[in-house]
């Protein structure tokens, strides 16, 4: 049976999804107006919507967004440089890899963000701390995926290289590395996402930086509607970032 999608099946579920969301918001609005939900705990969705403009203008949201992006950017740069080169190194030096691979895997699952008080002491309450926390969080997946990509190169491709008498270095840069790129991109994407999550999170926790700090500030000022608006804004950015990197990954790895 060929998968011919009718308009109903194409847009039906999406409409159901959005419809459900809208229905919930409307319900919440009604319940708050009726007094069933305390408006000092949950501001009305309409209020939250209204405060978007205020927050954007008064709180220099775009400036803060830029700040967050800068911190994330440097974290990602560091992750890429250190992560990929470490991955390459570990791949080349088998002994080193066998010795440290489980450690890297453990690092991937470790709650590194909990070291933020430590980083606060070492780097101070600054953008550097935030970047370093993002770096530490996103490093492990890049290393692991780089190793995986390099080790997973199909035997036959390596044999082609050997049969053409390529040197080890040529073999690496002309065959292994390009073959590993799809995996490396997957790792980079994971690393970027972890980095961004931790950057925003630490901004919130240490009350410094861009958007994360904004949420913290608004919360401390008891600006309820503003806090909710800022949180929604950050969620939106994070979702867009995730979708964007997903499209980029798919575009860059057609073979997958």
């Amino acid at each position: 049976m060929t998968g011919v999608a009718t308009a109903k099946t194409r847009f039906g579920p999406a409409l159901l999804g959005i419809g459900g969301l809208v229905a919930v918001l409307v319900l919440v609005e009604i319940l708050i107006r009726a007094g069933a939900i305390n408006r000092f705990i949950v501001p009305m969705p309409s209020e939250i919507g209204a405060s978007f403009e205020r927050v954007i203008v008064e709180e220099d949201v775009f400036g803060r967004f830029w700040q967050t992006m800068k911190e994330a950017f440097w974290a990602i740069v560091l992750i890429t440089i250190v992560g990929v080169s470490t991955g390459v190194l570990l791949h080349r030096v088998t002994l080193l890899r066998r010795a440290t691979e489980t450690w890297v895997a453990a690092l991937a699952s470790a709650p590194t963000v909990l070291m933020y008080p430590l980083f606060l002491v070492i780097f101070g309450r600054s953008a550097l701390t935030i970047t370093m926390m993002g770096f530490v969080a996103g490093l492990a997946p890049v290393i692991l995926k780089t190793i995986e990509g390099l080790s997973g190169t199909r035997r036959v491709l390596i044999n082609v290289g050997r049969s053409l008498k390529l040197t080890e270095t040529q073999l690496f840069w002309k065959i292994l590395f390009p073959a590993a790129l799809p995996n490396i991109f997957v790792g980079l994407r994971l690393g970027m996402i972890f980095a961004l999550i931790n950057v925003v999170g630490v901004e919130f926790l240490i009350n410094f930086g861009g958007l994360g700090q904004l949420i913290n500030e608004l919360a401390e000022r008891y600006d309820l509607a503003g806090t909710y608006a800022a949180i929604s804004f950050v969620v939106l950015i994070s979702v867009v970032f995730f979708m964007f990197t997903e499209k980029a990954e798919r575009w860059l790895t057609p073979a997958n």
């Binding site: 039906g12 579920p13 999406a14 159901l16 999804g17 459900g20 969301l21 705990i41 949950v42 002994l95 080193l96 066998r98 010795a99 440290t100 453990a106 699952s109 470790a110 709650p111 963000v113 909990l114 070291m115 933020y116 008080p117 430590l118 606060l120 002491v121 070492i122 996402i193 961004l196 999550i197 931790n198 925003v200 999170g201 919130f204 926790l205 994360g212 949420i215 913290n216 919360a219 309820l224 806090t227 909710y228 949180i231 950050v234 969620v235 994070s238 979702v239 995730f242 979708m243």
Partner: protein
């Protein structure tokens, strides 16, 4: 799994094994460098305390009954968060995995909301659940809900359809289908989801404790920070990481034990 006829090779002695040797070298190098930096006074005094000081702090920490009380508080919060987030994740995952329309309508929300920094919801959790353990549990719960729901939904879809038909042909009711067929059939993805969930529940709960709490391991860490007791902070982070990695490995083991029986 017959291993009759398999050639057994004598296992290399542990200290002669090159991998172990490299590991020891690496660890020793790190420790040595650390100690040198600590004693050199290059960095601000206590930012890099000597290994002795850290060692003492670790010993002191695990000898303190007080610590275990805080550990218990945190463990309780994480446990409760896992139960709440895990159960709701399972239920939502089963619902989405079993119904294509629902999945296409609502699963994208879960999928795209998953990788967001949940800690930013903490102010809202405080408003809703107060400054006590409630808000911490809530943080842990919303953190682990997403990976568990998504793994469960995916797990549902990879269940061999014939097994579902077997259940239906024997007229199992919904509860029996869920407990005797769906859950066992997708135990691997679910366990993986729980592993991920545990990891993020630990993070979410602890971060919340560092932000606003007067008890728990997170609180202790921030307390050490505020009085600038660095050896103690290092000690607590070390113990915490060991426990977290251990818990992760434990859950993986529980899931992995099963695979011995499977093809």
């Amino acid at each position: 799994m017959a291993d009759a006829g398999k050639l057994t090779v004598a296992a290399p002695k542990p200290w002669a094994d090159p991998v172990t040797a490299v590991r020891i070298v690496i660890v020793l190098t790190i420790l040595l460098t650390w100690e040198l930096v600590a004693r050199s006074g290059l960095l601000y005094r206590d930012v890099v305390p000597s290994l002795l000081a850290i060692g003492e702090a670790v010993v002191k920490l695990i000898g303190q009954p007080d610590y275990y009380w805080h550990l218990g508080v945190t463990a309780g919060e994480i446990g409760t968060a896992l139960v709440i987030g895990g159960l709701s994740g399972l239920i939502v995952g089963i619902a989405l995995g079993g119904n294509r329309l629902l999945a296409r309508a609502y699963e994208p929300y879960l999928y795209y909301l998953g990788p967001t920094p949940k800690i930013i919801f903490f102010p809202v959790m405080i408003m809703w659940f107060g400054v006590g353990p409630g808000s911490k549990v809530a943080m842990g719960a919303i953190s682990c809900f997403f990976p568990i729901a998504l793994s469960t939904a995916a797990g549902m879809r990879q269940i061999d359809k014939v097994l579902i038909r077997v259940g239906k042909s024997f007229r199992a009711n919904a509860w029996q289908m869920a407990t005797k067929i769906y859950l066992p059939a997708m135990r691997h993805p679910v366990i993986n989801g729980v592993r991920l969930g545990l990891g993020v529940a630990i993070i979410g709960t602890l971060l919340a404790e560092t932000k606003l709490s007067n008890r728990g391991v997170g609180f202790l860490i921030i307390q050490a920070y505020s009085i600038f007791d660095m050896p103690r902070m290092y000690a607590m982070l070390i113990v915490l990481f060991v426990l977290a990695i251990g818990a992760n490995a434990l859950v993986a083991r529980i899931g992995g034990l099963d695979t011995i029986r499977q093809a």
